[in-house]
């Protein structure tokens, strides 16, 4: 069981039209791992995360979930995965509660924590009924992050999760990540911040050398 990593990425490459964004990306993530993707602006951190979610197709290489290529076990893989992207996917005309309720309904697995409790935990108590256009960007992100509390997915992919949230929020999110990892989950996140998390591993995304054959 322990020999097969939860997720492994082998020789992954991505070309945008005829220029190569990155190539030869290799790493694997086991239960309880916390991996930070580092890299300069434009080095392809977001692209890498989107490749992991399967919404982009790699130009070369493959991604394996429990030893199986993700194109062969799509349903199982996507059910066990949670992705929060650059945009928090929050609808401005809906309230925080309605937004979260929809996000939970359209995702695969969820635990018994209620939407109200999750919003209280991320510090949105008292804001749940307000339409989201009245909330700040940081609060939008908190709505999206409340999904983490409800989700049962083992793999979390977070693209710049710390943008526009305050210090308190950063501390909360870090403890949230720590708990998830302690329960045997795994997190892959991209951020420019230095994180004070125990057991954090880093993967540096290097720009690919332009080579044509």
């Amino acid at each position: 069981m322990s020999q097969v990593p939860l997720l492994s990425v082998e020789n992954l490459a991505f070309d945008r039209d005829d220029s190569c964004l990155f190539s030869g990306v290799n790493f694997s993530v086991a239960d309880g791992d916390l991996l930070q993707i580092e890299g300069a602006n434009g080095s392809g951190k977001t692209t890498l995360l989107r490749l992991l979610t399967g919404s982009l197709q790699p130009s070369a290489g493959d991604i394996f979930y429990l030893g199986q290529s993700i194109s062969k076990c799509r349903y199982g893989y996507l059910s066990d995965m949670l992705y929060i992207g650059h945009q928090p996917a929050v609808k401005l005309n809906l309230s925080a509660e309605e937004n979260l309720r929809w996000m939970v309904a359209s995702s695969a697995q969820s635990n018994s924590l209620s939407v109200q409790d999750a919003l209280t935990q991320v510090g949105l108590a008292g804001y749940t009924d307000m339409p989201c256009y009245a909330l700040s960007a940081g609060q939008h992100r908190r709505v999206a992050l409340a999904r983490l509390l409800i989700s049962e997915a083992r793999l979390w992919y977070l693209d710049e999760p710390f943008t526009s949230i305050d210090k308190q929020g950063v501390i909360f999110l870090q403890s949230c990540l720590q708990q998830h990892v302690a329960k045997g989950g795994a997190v892959i996140l991209s951020t420019h911040q230095d994180l004070a998390l125990s057991g954090l591993r880093k993967y540096k995304l290097l720009p690919s050398v332009e080579s044509f054959t």
Binding site: D17, S71, F212
Partner: protein, 269 residues
């Protein structure tokens, strides 16, 4: 339809080395460089044959075929009109098939063929419409009549325009190819529906006009040159498609070493 192509590609994307020899030609055809070199060898011969067949058909049709009893010499425009209309229709299917191959087997080469086919088809559709209008004046007394076939042709022109517009709207070559391939496939499903609907609509309104020539009732002396012209147009289409595709290959592969070598060799020699 990448969900579809994923399934296919997972079994087929291994590349030439892993596949059985019977698939080799398919993958070689998928290599732009191979296509460019091979088509360069065929092209002069193909163009020569196309030119000969077209010239034969034209001279035969315009000078030697008998005059039409009712329409006189004006009927001779069918030697352009009918083949152009023929190719305009099949050109759309050729484009869609190329797009489908691209989507299923992720073959870049066939996307290039698809892109090259769109403007050629659109021009042929326009020629068919234009010659139809010119022919309509002496026959119907008006340049434009809402005849079923002419209306279908006009809609076909819109369909081509859509594919071309979508092709140019995207910055990313890959997204442009895949998006317009999907559109071409949707169009292929719809063309028979559109044509049948327009036919039905036309019979509903029943204007009193002469039907366009129907081939079987034509005299053999008139029909044979038409057949030659259709073959000639097919050959011409092939030549035009190959020329456009070669152009597209050079444009998309401009950064590869073989194109660079080709260009420097041309410039140097």
């Amino acid at each position: 339809m990448s969900w579809l192509s994923d399934k296919f590609s997972s079994t087929l994307s291994g590349g030439p080395s892993k596949e059985s020899p019977s698939w080799q030609w398919f993958y070689r055809l998928g290599s732009p460089r191979w296509f460019y070199q091979r088509s360069g060898q065929w092209l002069p011969w193909l163009s020569l044959v196309a030119l000969l067949v077209l010239a034969t058909g034209l001279v035969w049709g315009l000078a030697f075929a008998p005059e039409d009893a009712k329409q006189g010499n004006s009927f001779r425009i069918i030697y352009i009109h009918v083949p152009a209309a023929f190719l305009a229709q099949s050109g759309y299917f050729i484009m869609a098939i190329a797009g489908a191959i691209g989507l299923i087997w992720k073959m870049k080469m066939s996307y290039m063929v698809m892109k090259a086919a769109a403007p050629i088809g659109a021009v042929l559709t326009f020629i068919a419409l234009f010659t139809g209008a010119v022919w309509g004046k002496p026959t119907w007394g008006a340049y434009w009549v809402w005849d079923a076939r002419i209306t279908s042709m006009l809609i076909l022109l819109f369909l081509y325009a859509g594919v071309m517009a979508l092709q140019y709207a995207y910055h990313s070559v890959d997204a442009a190819s895949r998006a317009s391939a999907i559109l071409a496939l949707v169009g292929t499903v719809n063309i028979p529906i559109i044509n049948k609907s327009v036919d039905w609509w036309y019979t509903l309104h029943q204007p009193a006009t002469i039907k366009l020539t129907s081939a079987p009732s034509m005299h053999m002396d008139m029909f044979m040159p038409l057949l030659v012209m259709i073959v000639g147009f097919y050959l011409f289409y092939a030549v035009a498609l190959i020329l456009h595709t070669r152009n597209e290959i050079l444009r998309r592969e401009r950064k590869t070493s073989w194109v660079r070598e080709l260009v420097t060799a041309k410039a140097g020699g």
